[in-house]
């Protein structure tokens, strides 16, 4: 579903992402983690075609993002950490607009179901200015899920959500994965990644440090205990002690 080969992105002389390769299969949830400035958001933005990579190949459901971007984007949905909405479109108009962009002929039943699922039904005629941050986040998610994408990319998906919203979001992600979507979640909430993800990719300073299932990652650190958490592994691979101080 998602295949990345030799992805590199630089801003002038600064290399944000250096030669990263990985793939995410259908039905798999991959966690993308790393310290601030590790290159997570840059990677995600390259994956959805917001910024062009300097080098490397990105394929979404077999379509090259470079040469067949329209077909690739048709399969994609990106949920950024900061909800960006059109100030002057209501909730329902956002869904109507998105449906038309993605060519969904009968969007209303799906839209209503999503609004119910995300508890936005009673705000369908509200403008973004009248919504809380969490509601805006939910609307972005509703727009993203409307065209039943095969590939879902979440950047900090729980930001701004209340406890019920968090529970629903987790359930939504797992439901889409069970339905066969390939999902990448970028987050600093390592317990969320541990709970939802089948595999984890840890980035540090633009480089891939480790990639695999939690078990595989644990096996690469034989000195760690069996019940070691992702947080402890994260600290270890990014060169930090258990109290968070940097190791020389």
């Amino acid at each position: 579903m998602i295949e990345i080969e030799g992805l590199t992105k630089n801003y002038g002389s600064f290399v944000a992402v250096r030669d990263i390769s990985f793939s995410v299969r259908a039905g798999e949830v991959m966690g993308l983690v790393g310290p601030n400035g590790a290159g997570k958001t840059t990677t995600l933005r390259c994956l959805v075609g917001i910024i062009p990579p300097a080098t490397g190949e990105i394929r979404i459901c077999g379509h090259s993002l470079k040469t067949d971007s329209i077909a690739a984007k048709q399969q994609l949905a990106f949920m950024p950490d900061e909800p960006r909405l059109f100030d002057y479109l209501t909730v329902m108009e956002h869904l109507q607009f998105t449906a038309r962009i993605y060519g969904i002929s009968n969007f209303q039943p799906t839209a209503n179901a999503l609004l119910d699922e995300l508890e936005l039904r009673d705000r369908s005629n509200s403008l973004p200015g009248e919504l809380s941050r969490g509601m805006k986040q939910k609307l972005v998610i509703a727009c993203g899920l409307l065209h039943a994408p095969s590939v879902l990319l979440f950047d900090e998906p729980l930001t701004g959500l209340d406890p019920i919203g968090i529970r629903r979001m987790k359930s939504t992600i797992l439901k889409r994965a069970q339905a066969g979507a390939a999902i990448i979640i970028s987050s600093h909430l390592l317990h969320l990644v541990e709970e939802l993800c089948d595999r984890v990719l840890i980035l540090n300073q633009g480089r891939k440090v480790i990639h695999g299932s939690l078990e595989e990652i644990k096996k690469s650190f034989p000195e760690l205990r069996g019940d070691t958490s992702l947080e402890e592994m994260f600290l270890r691979v990014t060169g930090h002690a258990e109290d968070g101080t940097e190791l020389k």
């Binding site: 992105k9 801003y11 840059t42 933005r45 959805v48 075609g49 917001i50 910024i51 062009p52 971007s69 329209i70 077909a71 690739a72 984007k73 048709q74 994609l76 949905a77 990106f78 950024p80 960006r84 059109f86 100030d87 002057y88 479109l89 209501t90 108009e93 109507q96 607009f97 449906a99 038309r100 962009i101 993605y102 060519g103 969904i104 002929s105 009968n106 969007f107 005629n125 403008l127 200015g129 009248e130």
Partner: protein, 582 residues
């Protein structure tokens, strides 16, 4: 504590200036700054450095006949400013403005209320001093005054008085509201008091002062003397004297007179200051709300969403048409942007301009006393407006890529080719402008019975109107495309992006962009103008002026072809647009 606050004020100002200077290292800001400074110099400062003869003669101070009238007028204006918040709720003082950071750091800190108020008043002084210099530069640069310094000092007094008064009023009104006295009750009391004042003045004038001189031989001297007599005696004197005290130092003849006049003005400013300091009304809650709104506006402006930063929240209205479930890819973008025009009101200016035009026409017609003149004025105003919209409309209506570039992350994820998005983006402003132009041209063609010595027949007016209706919308579309091209190719040069809207260089950027846009527009229009000229010249031998719409159609097609090529080209740029580099 005062030391810490002063440190904050000085350091913030210093860093702000430093960051503005640092920005000048980038050539685009440096060039823009030069252009902005040049504009300022040529417009306002040039005359300061020229000899009197070169700047149009020596200073022309106000004559002593007019001065009392000016003083009285300024005092009455000041009195209106003072009364306004009590008569018109909502036009009151702005209260104590603190930024969110100031609230976060200072409100929980061991700082007394008085220190906080003083801190705010000192910050206000920075704005007042800038306002004084700006007012001095803009209003005559001392040309009408013997002593510009006296004028500046008096302006400082007036601005400080108004600033302090504004704060005090807000605090008192807040306190009154907390004690159950609503805005309506305040209004009743104020209007009652004002009515009593007006009655007392009228009675006084009727009984003790002669009526205002009237007649052909009455000049400014007589009227001035009468006004001064009214305000220098009876109740009017007492009501206007504090305001006269504040404005009089501006017109002092010599330093001694200035000192005598400025001292009482300072006393008034000091009294208002003490009133603010000792007013026992809480301001924290109102400041919090104001800071939240201000922060939201700043955040919107910093993220480039300058429209949200400036405007009030849009209202939900029905879209102009329902978006069909399937169809062309550009239609949803067009639909979305048309909603934006309707809800954010880019065209609100048009009814206002038409209203002004009609009002002017009515006034002029009244004087000329002829219905035909009214029709001619309305018709020619509509024609002029159509021309104005053609040139300026593309800069005014920005519901296209200029707004949507802020949502580039989202646009780039859409499964649409770049040219489709570009087409959808430019369609809304072009369509709105076309509709406005057609409406105005219809009025013009129907109502202009004559233009100076020309008396076009109905058929001639239809021919010209039809030709203009064909060409002007295409012309506007080219203008909209140029604006979008600038936004896409040089996003830093349009009003997008972070914090690039303030300062001299921002003004310079705007000037450069406007000039470049007009030049490109002229170049783009040349082929269409040549085609029009050739067809009209050759066709007029065969069918006379009836060829005009045919020539217009051909040049419109030429402009549309240019637009088509431009959209395809810009579409390719859009496809390779790198958000991270812009």
């Amino acid at each position: 504590m005062t030391g810490a606050l002063l440190f904050y004020l000085i350091t913030s100002t210093k860093n702000r200036v430093a960051s503005a200077v640092k920005r000048l290292r980038q050539p685009k800001y440096l060039i823009s700054a030069f252009v902005g400074l040049g504009y300022f110099y040529l417009t306002f400062f040039r005359s300061l450095f020229l000899r009197p003869s070169a700047r149009g003669g020596p200073p022309m101070p106000f004559s002593t006949d007019v001065l009392p009238l000016i003083e009285t007028g300024a005092a009455i204006l000041l009195m209106i400013f003072v009364l306004l918040p009590w008569i018109w709720p909502g036009r009151g003082g702005t209260g104590l403005k603190f930024t969110e950071a100031e609230i976060q750091f200072l409100f929980p800190a061991p700082v007394s209320r008085r220190t906080l108020v003083n801190f705010r008043l000192i910050k206000m002084q920075l704005g007042i001093l800038f306002g004084v210099v700006l007012s001095f530069v803009v209003f005559g640069r001392g040309r009408f005054l013997d002593h510009p310094f006296f004028f500046m000092a008096a302006l400082w007094g007036v601005y400080s008085f108004l600033g302090f008064y504004s704060l005090g009023t807000h605090l008192v009104q807040t306190s009154l509201a907390e004690h159950g006295m609503s805005g309506f009750k305040r209004q009743i009391w104020t209007l009652g008091a004002l009515a009593a004042v007006a009655v007392s003045v009228v009675v006084w004038v009727k009984r003790f002062i002669l009526p205002m001189p009237q007649g052909a031989d009455v000049g400014i001297h007589e009227i001035s003397a009468w006004v001064v007599k009214v305000t220098e005696s009876g109740p009017a004197y007492y009501f206007t004297v504090p305001f006269k005290i504040l404005v009089r130092p501006a017109f002092a003849a010599d330093p001694a007179a200035f000192a005598l006049r400025f001292a009482p003005a300072l006393v008034i400013v000091a009294l208002v200051y003490l009133w603010v300091i000792y007013t026992d009304a809480s301001f924290e809650e109102a400041s919090l709300e104001r800071a939240r709104k201000l922060a939201a506006r700043i955040e919107a402006a910093r993220s480039g969403n300058w429209r949200s930063a400036r405007r009030s929240a849009p209202k939900v209205r029905r879209p102009l048409f329902q978006l069909a479930a399937s169809g062309f890819g550009h239609t949803p973008i067009f639909w979305k942007n048309l909603i934006s025009v309707g809800r954010l009101g880019s065209m609100r200016i048009l009814p206002a301009l038409i209203g002004v035009g009609v009002a002017l026409a009515a006034i002029t017609a009244k004087h000329q006393g002829a219905g035909e003149a009214l029709l001619m004025i309305i018709g020619s105003s509509a024609a002029a407006m159509a021309g104005f919209l053609t040139l300026v409309g593309p800069m005014l209506i920005r519901d296209d890529l200029r707004s949507d570039l802020l949502q580039m992350d989202l646009l780039k994820t859409y499964p649409l080719p770049g040219w489709t998005i570009l087409l959808g983006e430019v369609m809304a402003p072009s369509a709105v402008l076309a509709a406005a132009q057609w409406f105005l041209l219809l009025i013009a063609a129907a109502l202009i019975p004559s233009l100076g010595r020309m008396h076009p027949s109905f058929s001639q007016r239809v021919l010209v109107g039809l030709s203009a209706a064909l060409v002007l919308p295409c012309f506007s579309m080219i203008g909209v495309l140029i604006q979008n091209a600038v936004a896409l190719i040089w996003p830093g040069w349009v009003e997008l992006g972070k914090g690039n809207r303030q300062g001299i260089e921002a003004m310079g950027q705007r000037l450069i962009t406007i000039v470049a846009t007009l030049l490109t527009l002229v170049v783009a229009v040349i082929p269409a103008a040549i085609i029009f000229g050739i067809i009209y010249f050759l066709g007029s031998f065969v069918i006379g002026t009836a060829v005009m719409p045919i020539a217009a159609l051909a040049s419109a097609l030429c402009l549309l072809a240019e637009a088509g090529f431009a959209i395809m080209w810009l579409g390719r740029i859009f496809d390779t647009f790198d958000v991270s580099r812009s």
